[in-house]
């Protein structure tokens, strides 16, 4: 009874229709939030007293970095659900997450390095947070590499799921070891945006962007999930019905 919704999630046609129905809601609300956040961040917010206009890249950089970690977590949870309850749809969710997460990670790296050019005077600094973001990108690439190297879909699902779970145990260890590495090797030269002391007209657009990026991820995930489910179930009769509508 209370668990019916969960059991129905194991049915590909149900998930396909649910994803179809939910996508516009997430897509439109994320578009509105991102537009509002961009307007607030790029037009309304005052320039930073130290960094000038350059700080505004944070409105893309911070949400991308946040999403890169969140997508990995979602991917690992979906993979664990797929491993434990042998739920095919969960594996499809994990598979759909990886390229999106890798793109967010790349966006965070590129914006971080663009920000570094005026602030540090160089495009790349071995800053601990940028470095652990780079390692995260390698983790995503490994996950996607393992998936594409394994031809049998079910085996690819389960093998990459084990990797995602091992990875998620390691992500905090890697993050903190990189922080520790940097603090020992060089003096802290990194400028930090002190978040709690950020004035409200800078903070509100950032929060809007965070929420907007999250909803955008859900919308993209649902769209990719539909494609993934269709290609996995391509021989099922409901796919023919769904596509001939």
């Amino acid at each position: 009874m209370a668990w019916t919704w969960f059991h129905r999630l194991a049915s590909p046609p149900h998930v396909y229709r649910l994803a179809e129905r939910l996508t516009p809601w997430f897509a439109w609300s994320s578009a509105l939030l991102i537009l509002a956040g961009l307007y607030g961040g790029l037009v309304l917010a005052p320039p930073d007293y130290q960094q000038g206009e350059g700080f505004r890249i944070i409105y893309v950089h911070a949400p991308s970095a946040w999403m890169s970690l969140m997508v990995y977590t979602v991917m690992a949870v979906a993979a664990a659900v797929g491993l434990i309850w042998r739920m095919k749809v969960a594996h499809a969710v994990a598979a759909s997450c990886a390229p999106v997460g890798a793109s967010f990670t790349l966006a965070a790296l590129v914006t971080g390095s663009l920000w570094g050019r005026p602030m540090w005077g160089t495009y790349w600094e071995w800053d601990p947070r940028l470095t652990s973001e780079l390692i995260l990108l390698f983790l995503y690439l490994g996950y996607m590499g393992l998936r594409s190297a394994t031809e049998d879909v079910q085996r690819a699902d389960r093998a990459s799921a084990v990797l995602a779970v091992v990875g998620v145990v390691n992500v905090p260890i890697i993050h903190y070891s990189v922080l520790w590495w940097n603090s020992l090797h060089q003096a802290p030269s990194v400028m930090k945006l002190d978040k709690p002391s950020m004035p409200l007209d800078m903070l509100v657009p950032l929060l809007l962007m965070l929420l907007g990026f999250t909803l955008y991820f859900v919308a993209i995930l649902l769209m990719r999930l539909r494609g993934e489910v269709l290609s996995r179930e391509r021989n099922a009769s409901w796919v023919k019905e769904a596509l001939s509508r």
Binding site: G142, L146, A149, V162, L163, V165, N170, S177
Partner: protein, 237 residues
């Protein structure tokens, strides 16, 4: 005899520890009959170490600065090279399948295989490391610290690598993929390992990075064989 009786795991009277010991002995015996596999990772380690003085500078004072990094990158790469052989032969001739069907805990058997692998590659590397470090300008007093840190680091790496080796079993030409899977996860080992070596070379206490390396090893001993067994099962399906 029907097929169903063949497929069923045999009820075994051998305890898990005895089975693991037998696997360990078998792997060691096999390796000593094929000695070139023992020597290759060591030779690779020596060659990679030689590349750095040739490509940077022969001056010991400058080499000393990069010695910990060179040592650990070389150790990491040569253990990675050896990892490819961890399960491959046994997967090809069906031994791994027999292990999986034997009724014994696959986790224990793979733990024994990983331990044998470390004894054959990690331990010789740890013993060779002080000589390589010496050639790069490390003082002789640093050798205990170097051996201890490489022992722990290669142990953690073998355990971690067993998962990657299990996952890439079914993949043709999986060597590059194996590196892509294992290296990002091995970054903490590299960081703490080279830290310990650097401190040992300066004559400082290496306790802090050694505790962290030991923690990684303990985590590897407790969790990695379980994940490796799951990975091997998936690859054998």
């Amino acid at each position: 005899m029907s097929t169903s009786t063949v497929m069923q795991p045999a009820a075994s009277s051998t305890s898990a520890l005895t089975a693991a010991r037998l696997v360990l002995e078998r792997d060691l015996r096999l390796a000593f009959r094929k000695r070139e596999q023992l020597v290759q990772p060591l030779a690779f380690f020596a060659i990679v170490t030689t590349l750095f003085p040739l490509s940077i500078t022969p001056e010991l004072s400058r080499l000393r600065e990069i010695a910990p990094g060179v040592l650990w990158v070389a150790a990491l790469l040569s253990s990675l090279l050896a990892l490819e052989f961890l399960f491959r032969d046994d997967a090809q001739d069906g031994t791994l399948e027999q292990y999986a069907l034997s009724g014994q805990s696959l986790t224990w058997l793979l733990f024994a295989k990983t331990a044998a692998h470390w004894l054959l590659t990690g331990l010789p590397l740890s013993l060779a490391a002080p000589f390589a470090a010496g050639a790069l300008g490390a003082p002789a007093s640093a050798w205990t610290g170097i051996v201890a840190s490489v022992v722990l680091g290669t142990l953690a790496l073998s355990l971690l690598g067993a998962i990657g080796a299990g996952l890439t079993l079914g993949v043709k030409r999986g060597g590059v993929l194996l590196s892509l899977l294992v290296l990002p996860l091995a970054m903490p080992i590299l960081i703490f390992g080279s830290q310990a070596t650097e401190l040992a070379m300066k004559g400082a206490s290496i306790a802090a990075p050694m505790y962290l390396l030991a923690a990684l090893t303990v985590l590897g001993v407790t969790l990695a064989p379980i994940a490796a067994a799951a990975a091997v099962r998936i690859s054998l399906e």
